[in-house]
Every structure is written in C-alpha cells, then in structure tokens.
C-alpha cells in the first residue's frame, strides 16, 4: 500500500459547500455598502509617479479622494485646477446628463431601438478626456459619452448615430451609442465587452514602437474584468511596459449582478494591478478632481516610460443598465440615493460654489442652455429622421466589409438591386 490519505480518509471530512455571493440588499431592503471602504478625502498619500510598484501595494485598498463632504479640495492629490477648467468639466457632465435623459425618452417614444445612460459616472470620461492630450486615444465603453462631449463632438452627430438615420456617421451599421470618433480620440465601440481593453495595449505599444508620444486609455466595467481579455491586457501592458492607463469603472452593478459576482466580495478591482507588478489606484469616481489627479499621475508614468497603471474608479450606476432594463427588479429602489459618494455633478458644483466660482443661478441657467442645445440637436436629427424613417443608402450595408468589395458583395448588391 502506498501511503496515501495520510490526512484521513474522505469519510471523516465535513461536507463542502458552494458559496454563491449575494448583494447586501435586494428590492425592499435597506441599501447597504458596508463591504466597501471609503477613505476620508485627502487621507491617501500621493507617491511620486516614478515610484516602484512594491512601494505602493497599499494604494489599491485605499480610496483616493480630493473633494470632502463640504466640497473643499483637500490633500496631496488635489490637482489644483483653475475654475475655468472646472466649470468646463461641470458643463460637460451636465450636458451628458441632459442629453442622455433626452435620448432615453426618445427611445421610449420609439425613435430608436436602444439606449444606455451613464448617469452618476459622468466625471470619469469628462475629467480624463480633458486631462489627456488630443492625440491620445480612448478605448471606451458605452458609458463614457462625456469623453466625446469634453472634446466638443457635435451633438447632432450623436443624435444621427442614435437614430441610425441618413446622416449617421457610422452609416447605419451600429447599435445606438456604439460610436466611433477617431478625430476625437475615441476608438470604435462594439457591443461585445472587454475586447478593446487589450487592443488599447497594442495601440500604446505601437506608439512606443514608433517612438511617438501618444498614450492610450481604456475602460472596462467592473463586471467585464472577469473576461480573459482583461488579464491579457494587463499581462501585455506589464510585460512591455506599455504607455496605457487601464481603467475599471466599478459602478457596483453589471446589469443585475453585483460586483461580488465579478470578484469584489472581499477585495478591490484596483488590487488586480498587484498581480502584474504595476501600480493600482482606487479612486473616487464621482470626484472630478480625484479622477483628474489619478489620471495625471498615471499619464506621467506612462509618458516617462514607466509603463501602465490600473485605476479603479469607484462609482455607482444610478440609472438602469439600458432601456431594456428595470433595476427595481434586483436592487433597492433607493440604492442610488444612498450611494455614499454622492453625485459627481452636485459635488463639483458644490466645490465651485464654495470657491466662489459658481452659483445655483448660473447652474440653473447653464442647464437650461444645455437643454435647449440638446433639444435643437434632437429636433435637427428628427428632421433628418428617426430609426426606420430615414437611413443611409442601402448600398452602405455592403461597403467596408473589406477595403475593396469582392464578387460576393457585388453580386449580392445586384441581387438586392442597390
């Protein structure tokens, strides 16, 4: 007999049990966020961006915040931005919110097939778009409309894309909001999750290969971190020290599943950086200043050939997942209101007012102007046509499969008579 089972036969052992994570609260229950750590604003040290990774393995477990509960900017991460910049950020965020509310209704009115909002998460795209260079490239998710708005992407082009009408810049080929806007540093979106995260690394490697100065930024949601692409992106980014900022937008939910199903029951997403020996920052995603500061830190690292940074933005998906979703089916109705990090627009507004650089009146007026601008753009888009009433020429269905069409496409065009 071989000396197996030294530790006792199976018979003595207690039965195993399968653990299935469950969120703290379901509909009808009181919202709770005690599984999350929220460090006080200003409490996390800001190491030099050139710091070696072993020195900062605590950072993924803290929460970098600049704006405190009174709207003051505090601590070492305060990026010291001027009021002009902040007002611009505020406007971009407010515009995103107004636009999305409007288009959500348009979808409900049957003007398009589908829509998604970024409510509560507007600070992320806005601050990062403003902070980075024009020729850097963002590999977006569907929740970073504010990136485009911060770069003055024409609202009418958004509307036309969403309506898939004759002026749709994507020629009727894409689901609403899956924009592509090369000139605005906004890579082609697609419905499948995760796959562009690793492409961003390749893009950044190409910039480094050429000896250029452009860096890349990429997003995934908390849920999407579980895809293999996430790991591949981090691995390649770390191995080749790619100049890329890899961001996890942890909005607590992935459609109906909470962040614990994605692996955050007992740890943070920022901590995933440690696996790869790169810095991981955990940042208040509803704090425009903290987002900016963390991005600037990571960008400096990238631009000085120190390689990639992983940033987790802690935020909350205040709206439903999409127009196809009803979040009251799986989480407390008032969970958004209970979210401890508040609303990014309110927080920046409060800060500006506290600085004497903004007022409730100016805010109201700004919102009215933004609403008017959006209304005008939507009207213009409706004039061209909503989904089904207007579309690009059907020949566009057959273009761009390849650079040059092959006989199949030519024959099939003939068959359809277009």
């Amino acid at each position: 007999m071989s000396p197996h089972n030294q530790s006792g036969g199976a018979a003595d052992r207690p039965p195993l049990t399968l653990h299935i994570p469950e969120p703290a609260a379901r509909p009808g229950e009181t919202p709770r966020f005690d599984h999350l750590t929220f460090s006080p604003a200003g409490s996390i040290r800001r190491p030099d961006p050139g710091v070696a990774e072993p020195e900062i393995r605590d950072l993924p477990y803290g929460l970098i915040r600049v704006l405190d509960d009174q709207g003051q900017a505090v601590g070492p991460w305060d990026p010291g931005l001027d009021a002009e910049t902040l007002r611009r950020g505020l406007k971009v965020m407010a515009q995103a919110r107004v636009f999305e509310d409007r288009m959500f209704r348009a979808q409900r009115q049957g003007k398009t097939s589908f829509f998604m909002k970024s409510t509560g998460e507007e600070a992320i795209g806005a601050a990062q778009s403003m902070m980075l260079d024009r020729d850097d490239m963002c590999f977006p998710t569907y929740r970073v409309l504010s990136w485009l708005l911060a770069r003055d992407y024409p609202v009418i082009d958004l509307v036309n894309q969403i309506f898939s009408n004759a002026r749709d810049p994507l020629k009727g080929r894409q689901l609403p909001i899956l924009y592509s806007a090369r000139k605005y540093g906004f890579y082609s979106l697609s419905g499948n999750l995760g796959t562009r995260f690793s492409q961003a690394v390749g893009w950044a490697m190409a910039s480094a290969y050429r000896g250029d100065t452009r860096i890349a930024l990429a997003y995934v949601g908390d849920g999407t971190t579980a895809e293999g692409d996430f790991h591949e992106a981090l691995t390649f980014a770390a191995v080749y020290r790619a100049p890329v900022i890899l961001c996890v937008t942890n909005n607590q939910w992935a459609i109906s599943s909470f962040s614990g199903i994605a692996g955050a029951e007992t740890t943070t997403f920022a901590a995933k950086a440690i696996a790869y020996g790169i810095p991981g920052l955990r940042v208040d995603g509803n704090d425009f200043l903290a987002v900016w500061a963390a991005t600037a830190w990571a960008a400096e690292r990238a631009r000085t050939n120190k390689g990639a940074t992983l940033i987790e933005f802690v935020t909350y998906r205040a709206a439903g997942h999409s127009t196809s979703d009803d979040p009251t089916k799986y989480r407390p109705m008032d969970e958004a209101a209970a979210w401890p990090l508040g609303d990014p627009i309110e927080r920046l507004k409060t800060h500006l007012i506290a600085r004497g650089e903004w007022s409730a009146e100016r805010h109201t007026q700004m919102e009215a102007e933004l609403a008017e601008g959006v209304r005008a753009a939507v009207k213009e888009g409706e004039g061209i046509g909503t989904l089904g009433q207007s579309k690009p020429p059907v020949s566009q269905m057959f273009e761009d499969v390849f650079k040059e069409p092959d006989w199949r496409v030519l024959e099939q065009r003939r068959e359809l008579g277009v």
Binding site: I255, Q396, V409
Partner: protein, 337 residues
C-alpha cells in the same frame, strides 16, 4: 394542455429537469435572482435555491470551462450565454475541450453540458445581438447543435439536450420567443397562443435530437429551414404559390439526412433558408449533401437564401434579413429553371 410561448416552454423544461434531477444546475450572466435578460430562467432560483440557478462573472470562457468541469464531475450543467454573439470567447473551450473530451480520454470523461443561447436577428439588435453562428458549431466534431422553432419543440428538445450525454449547443431564436415571426415586420406580431406548437404539456417529455419535422407537405420543391426561418419559410412559400414541402431541421447536428433526402427525391427541387451570412454558412453543407444524394432527382439548382455576406447592420435590418419575398423569389427561380 396549457398554452406556452417559447420562453415559458424553455423555463418549464428547465424547471422539470431541475425538479427531477438534482444534478441539473443552471448558471450564467444575470440568470439567477433576476431570471435572465430574456426571462428564461425566471423563478428558478427562488424555487430551486441559490446554488442551483446562479449568476456568474461576465466570462463566457469561464462559464463554459466551469460547466465542463462540473459535467466531468457528474453534474448536468445548463449554462446560458446571454447572446450567441458572445459564445465566441468560449469557442476554444467548446471546440478544444467539450467537444473532444470523450474522444481524447478514450471515453473516461465527457461533458454532458447544454449551452443555451439566444441567437439570430430581426430585433434591431445591431451587429452583436443578431448573429447566427450555427455553421461554426456544425463543423466541430463532437458538438451537437439544436435549434427549435416553436414552444413544444423548444421544451422537448431542451429536455432531450439536457439528458444527452454529449455537449449540445442549444440556440434559441430570440425573434420568436414571444410569437411566430414570419418575416412580415410591418404586420402585427402573432402571439404563440394563436399558433401551432404552443400546446405544451406541463411535465416531462422529449423531442429527440436528430429528427426533423415536416411542417408542410408539398410536391414541387423542398424548403430546408430552422429556427425563425421556419416561420419565414411558411409565409414565403405562401407568397410564392409553389407547393413546397417545408422541413424544420430542429437539430443540425445530428442532422436528419433521411427526411431531407426523401423529400428532395420526391420534389426534385430544393431551397435552403438561413439567417446567417451565406458564404461558408450551414446552407453550403446542406446543399452539398442534397446534391450528393439527390443529384439525379434534381430538376434545377439548389437555391440558397441567407443573410448577405456582410456583418449584421442595424439600420438595414430588413434589407439584410432574408424575408419571405426573397424565399418566394428563390422558389420561383427553382421552379423556372
């Protein structure tokens, strides 16, 4: 007998099997508490418990790998992939692992998994919520691929798939979840209650894998279809005025070659209809098989009606979708030739 739509029938199949067999376990993205984005797993967690119907990370590769491991242990996992477009991250697990496990291990291990996934177009889902990937599965030795076209079949086939000891890709035509869409997108959608195939027994029954159904008998031509296209074919045949026999393949692997060949030998003409893009699609295999076995009976070239060889385009849904008129035209063509 109760009336069920496709979703209810599929839900009932899962419920029946979970009630009968403690080894049946259901999981996938949003399938647990929420009951699935198409509601197919609605109520199963509440009824059968957290561990028997649960949410997974967004990781299709991980979902299928986990299912294979569970299957090798002895369970009968029924993972859901939220959209068939998102099976691709798990393609390697399906092809290199699930499909090959029995063979390569000399029969020691196998993966009795049933991968459910909504597929197909017609819902303005754009490029990544509309695709029909059945051809790439059909080519994989060791995988079975099943596609129901009505609630009765959906339940019976799903139960048969779960009870099958081989890996089954179970593609659910999402366009007909709620009613038998016949391709006339400008008309009101019929409900299942008014349509054949919606009388669904509450309890256990199976529809065997590998048996096609002759949905409509005809003398002049044979139409081969599956999923949503069965309904499109019905209305296309009507529009054409051709007395065509309509065969619902129900499973493409195993394929009911006998029923196909018998029909084409009788009619002498054949049109194949599928949503997937045409080039390299499953229609090619069907055409080749029919041609090989019925060559001397064929009166005209076998026709194929399919999606165009482009990605699935949002605004051009109805230009892309192979609707009844395109089938009717093809039927007329095979009659003229």
């Amino acid at each position: 007998m109760p009336k069920m739509d496709m979703i209810q029938a599929l839900n009932s199949a899962l419920d029946v099997k979970m009630s009968q067999d403690p080894d049946v376990v259901v999981f996938g993205e949003d399938v647990g508490y929420f009951g699935g984005v198409f509601r197919v797993t609605d109520g199963l967690q509440r009824k059968h418990g957290l561990k028997r119907c649960f949410d997974t990370p967004i990781s299709e590769g991980g979902i299928i790998a986990t299912a294979i491991g569970m299957g090798a242990y002895g369970l009968r996992p029924v993972p859901e992939i939220q959209f068939a477009d998102y099976i691709l991250p798990a393609f390697d697990q399906l092809v290199s692992e699930a499909a090959r496990l029995r063979y390569r291990s000399g029969g020691e291990f196998w993966a009795p998994i049933t991968v459910r996934s909504p597929y197909g177009g017609g819902i303005f889902g754009g490029q990544t919520h509309s695709q029909s990937p059945e051809a790439i599965f059909a080519h994989v030795t060791g995988l079975k691929t099943v596609i129901p076209s009505n609630p009765y079949d959906a339940k019976g086939l799903l139960i048969a798939a779960i009870e099958d000891d081989d890996p089954v890709i179970f593609l659910e035509p999402k366009r007909i979840y709620n009613g038998p869409f016949d391709g006339h997108h400008d008309r009101a959608l019929k409900t299942w209650a008014e349509a054949p195939g919606s009388d669904v027994p509450e309890g256990h029954y199976t529809v065997p894998l590998g048996k096609a159904a002759v949905v409509r008998e005809g003398r002049e031509a044979t139409v081969l279809a599956y999923g949503t296209m069965v309904h499109v074919a019905k209305s296309g045949i009507e529009e054409s005025g051709v007395d065509a026999e309509l065969i619902d393949l129900r499973s493409i692997v195993p394929l009911d070659i006998d029923t196909i060949v018998a029909s084409v030998k009788k009619t002498g003409r054949c049109v194949i209809l599928h949503e997937a893009s045409r080039f390299g699609g499953f229609g090619g295999e069907l055409s080749a098989l029919v041609q090989e076995r019925c060559f001397y009976h064929l009166k005209s070239p076998i026709g194929r009606v399919a999606g165009w060889d482009t990605p699935y385009p949002h605004a051009f849904e109805w230009d892309y979708f192979p609707g009844p008129s395109r089938l009717a035209a093809a039927l007329k063509r095979v009659m003229e030739d």
